[in-house]
Amino acid sequence: MATTTKDLNVAVIVKLEPDFSEGNVSYNADGTLNRAETKSILGPHSAIASNAAFYAKVKYGARVAVGTMGPPIAESALQQAQLLCDADELHLYSDRIFAGADTLATAEVLKAGISKVEGGKVDVVFSGHRASDGETGQTGPQTAWKLGYTFLGNVIDYNIDLESRLVRAKRLISLQGFYDIIEEVEAPLPVFISIDPSYNAFFNTVSQRLAFEKYQKEARSRAENYKQFLKVLNTQQLGIDPKLVGLPGSPTIVYKVERIPKAKASRKAEVIDGTNRDQIARVVTNMYEVLEGMVIK
């Protein structure tokens, strides 16, 4: 159950992922990721979800909890998330039996974890759009379903009315063949929000900006001492049925990963290096023709 006062409790679920940036990532000779040589960082989508939770902190003074499932090393993801959202609590759901979990088994652990926050009184849960190493985008929705929360996907902006306990969110969707349609929806708390990669928090008064600075400063000092905020919870502490988590709880397994076959190029490319006027004139003519074709007369 959600809270009935004007307080707001939010939770973020994050994931520790390989750093795929150039100069940091390593591949084996067969093209698979060399995990030993590649550093792990807070996943980029988890970072965006953390930013969205920070918005709730700055704008509504929300209490923020961050949770992740993983081995002890995953606490570094919690620390990085805390730096972004000034979390009041960090929860690491860690148990050997969680290993080998698919998205459904992971969702079971996350559900149990979120239910432990503020006595289960979490109003909004944030997750990233998907993980950069799994790419399924299923864990969020499945956790929402298990929690029984209203699921709002691809959210690019949200506002909460603390009086009426309603959230208004903008979602970036495709509709009837059109991309980038913005849909505005309203839902009663509690909700589960999966944040779109294009989300960007915006604060439009001086006092909000000052609060932003204040909490950011607090976040820096908290993240330095993140262990003070960290709780590690195992199966027993989470009160989970071992049959529902880890390998036994996973109806799916990754059998084989194949490269996506390259699509046949439908466009023709021609190199025009611009060393003489004729070539440049040709580019202009070509562009003109293309643009003219796009004008609806």
Binding site: E22, G23, V25, S26, A29, E213
Partner: protein
């Protein structure tokens, strides 16, 4: 509408000092900065001084920030100050350390991104305790007045109100322009400075410049490196980089426009400078295009990673602190072990990936800025209604021979402005008679204001002493008389007294001429200079490569509007814009703003605004 006591516009060194000082006086203030964070749009030469004037008081950086130098990211305390006269491969050097130390507690080389970041941290902590703070990524669009209070509108936030405003928005102050408090600066009042940051490991800097861990060197250049313009070059040692730049009288550039970067390039190509900046550089071998695509990609990643490791390890190996840190972390047992690992990475790159290691130099960042010459453009009354102008915004830069100071001037101004505002808050009187005048009177007492008005004969003597070894016949008929006059103490006093009666207006054309900046140094170098030879030829990046390396948050909308695309001034911008934003098309000057680094060179004849909040250039060094 939200209400605040004081709004400071601009988060450079001056604006931040104003915020810190007001907080020190227990006053609430907010600071509005257009950049993503304080320091991201600031550029300086730069040396930050602390002064001890013979007469009067100066507010120094350590007066505002009591914690200054405890953990402040300053670069190096400058302990050597040399002036070089150049002509081709000949250089004559004068030691001007005495001039650098004149009336100074210290002078540190600084990089503003880091330093202003630190100032901002201190200032915002203090301001937070008074209910104020720093609001960054916000660009002020307009100011208006309602019942004597200023309503500030921005591109990003809801309007808010302030009782007093401190304008610290730099040489291209929009506050000054919007209010009409002063006219836009003209080329004769400005210098254009262009700077590159050169990478060089800490230990190599110390060895090459003959300095200890807490010491630094400043080298100044005049002569043929100026390409006949009035101005000169500089090279300052930072902790593990060098600041190499050229500062030229804008008027002189207008007369015979040269691309700004060619002036830095002339300096980099000078054999003495080339030897100062040289380093070992890894050059990637082209990847064999016949290999399978995946193998190419894998190789590219592997080489990138190894070169990154090599660079990091090499920087650590040459840095006392980083070396110690690596050993303490337990990763390496000794210096020798770090060296062995470094050699093995280098060996792997060379043998496995054909990476070449050559002698060259590495540029990290290119930047440009206009510098106001306070002698010619300092505002006589630096206020308007309830707004006080400080630092560059008030045109208060000190330019005396090789001495260029702006940071410490801005800090001194800012403290005086903050004091005046605090007093006004106590009396609830923000009128020009009470607040503006009290600030104006205060800065009249500043050492820097005096420097903008008159010649200091003791400072002049240091130059004459340093030039002792120069045969008098070189200075020749032109300055022989002056020299003779100046070498006697009594006569010098009289001569300077006379000169000060004449005033800077009449003196400047004589003192700041092509002759003094170019001809005399060339002659000196030719006749008595030492010969230098560079051991390599530096590969100087093209302007396109330099721009490509800069970081921008690109705004689709241009913040500059060309007013008259056919004017003579705008035609010169095609050459004078440091990042080539202007080009000629069918007799019209057209603008592509994307590469703009917001120096303001084109501001005089354009509608010139800073980009919206967070947009535009983001300097990593500054």
């Amino acid at each position: 509408m939200e209400r605040y006591d004081v709004a400071i516009i601009g988060g450079g060194s001056a604006g931040l000092a104003a915020l810190k000082q007001l907080s020190n006086l227990n006053k609430q203030a907010i600071l509005i900065e257009a950049g993503k964070k304080a320091g991201s749009k600031n550029l300086s030469g730069g040396i930050l001084y602390s002064k001890k004037p013979k007469h009067g008081k100066t507010y120094n950086v350590e007066d505002v920030y009591p914690e200054f130098l405890q953990d402040t990211p300053v670069e190096r305390r400058i302990t050597q100050y040399m002036l070089h006269a150049t002509s081709r491969d000949k250089v004559f050097t004068m030691n001007l350390t005495a001039a650098h130390e004149y009336q100074a507690n210290f002078g540190y080389s600084v990089l503003l991104n880091k330093l202003n970041g630190w100032f901002a941290k201190q200032a915002s902590e203090s301001a937070g305790r008074q209910g104020g703070g720093i609001v960054s990524g916000v660009h002020v669009r307009s100011l208006s007045w309602q019942e004597e209070k200023t309503v500030i509108e921005t591109d990003e936030l809801e309007p808010f109100e302030a009782k007093a405003v401190i304008a610290a928005d730099g040489v291209n102050s929009e506050v000054a322009e919007m209010t009409g408090a002063r006219a836009k600066f003209t080329p004769e009042q400005l210098y254009q400075g262009v700077k590159v940051i050169v990478k060089l490991p800490e230990g190599i800097i110390e060895e090459r410049f003959g300095i200890g861990p807490d010491e630094g060197a400043a080298h100044l250049f005049a002569g043929d490196i100026t390409l006949n313009h009035i101005g000169g070059g500089f090279l300052y040692t930072n902790l593990d980089t060098l600041s190499v730049g050229a500062v030229y009288h804008y008027d002189s550039l207008m007369e015979r426009p040269s691309e700004p970067y060619t002036l830095v390039d002339a300096l980099l190509k000078n054999p003495l400078v080339a030897e100062f900046i040289k380093d070992q550089v890894a050059v990637k071998e082209e990847i064999d295009k016949n290999m399978p695509k995946e193998e190419q990609l894998r190789t590219r990643f592997a080489v990138s990673k190894l070169i990154k490791t090599w660079n990091e390890l090499r920087d650590s190996y040459h840095s006392r602190a980083l070396r110690k840190k690596l050993i303490e972390s337990g990763k390496y047992k000794s210096e020798d072990e770090i060296k062995a690992r470094l050699d093995s990475v280098q060996n792997e790159l060379a043998t496995k990936y054909d990476t070449k290691f050559v002698t060259d130099y590495v540029e990290l960042e290119y930047g440009a800025k206009l510098v106001p010459d306070g002698k010619r453009c300092a505002m006589k009354k630096p206020y308007y209604k309830n707004i006080l102008f400080v630092g560059d915004a008030a045109g208060r830069g000190v330019f005396i021979g090789p001495r260029i100071e702006g940071l410490n001037v801005g800090i001194d101004d800012a403290v005086r402005a903050a004091n005046a505002v605090a007093r006004a808050i106590d009396r609830n009187n923000f009128s020009t008679q009470y607040m503006g005048e009290s600030y104006s009177q205060s800065i009249e007492e500043s050492l820097y204001t005096r420097d903008m008005k008159e010649i200091d004969k003791d400072y002049l003597k240091i130059f004459l002493d340093a030039a002792r070894d120069v045969p008098k016949d070189i200075i020749g008929q032109r300055y022989g008389m002056v020299f003779r006059l100046m070498s006697s103490g009594t006569l010098r006093g009289l001569a300077v007294g006379f000169a000060n009666i004449l005033g800077y207006d009449k003196l400047l054309p004589l003192v700041e001429s092509q002759d003094t900046y170019v001809q005399v140094p060339i002659e000196v170098a030719e006749k008595i200079g030492r010969q230098f030879q560079a051991t390599y030829e530096p590969t100087i990046p093209t302007i396109a490569q330099r721009i490509a390396r800069l970081k921008y948050d690109d705004d689709r909308v241009s913040h500059i509007k060309v007013l008259n695309p056919k004017s003579e001034f705008m035609k010169k911008m095609v050459t004078l814009c440091p990042t080539f934003c202007y080009s000629m098309e069918g007799g019209n000057v057209t603008l592509q703003h994307e590469a703009c680094i917001e120096c303001g060179t084109c501001a005089k004849e354009t509608e010139w605004r800073h980009p919206r909040g967070e947009k535009g250039i983001i300097y990593q060094y500054g």
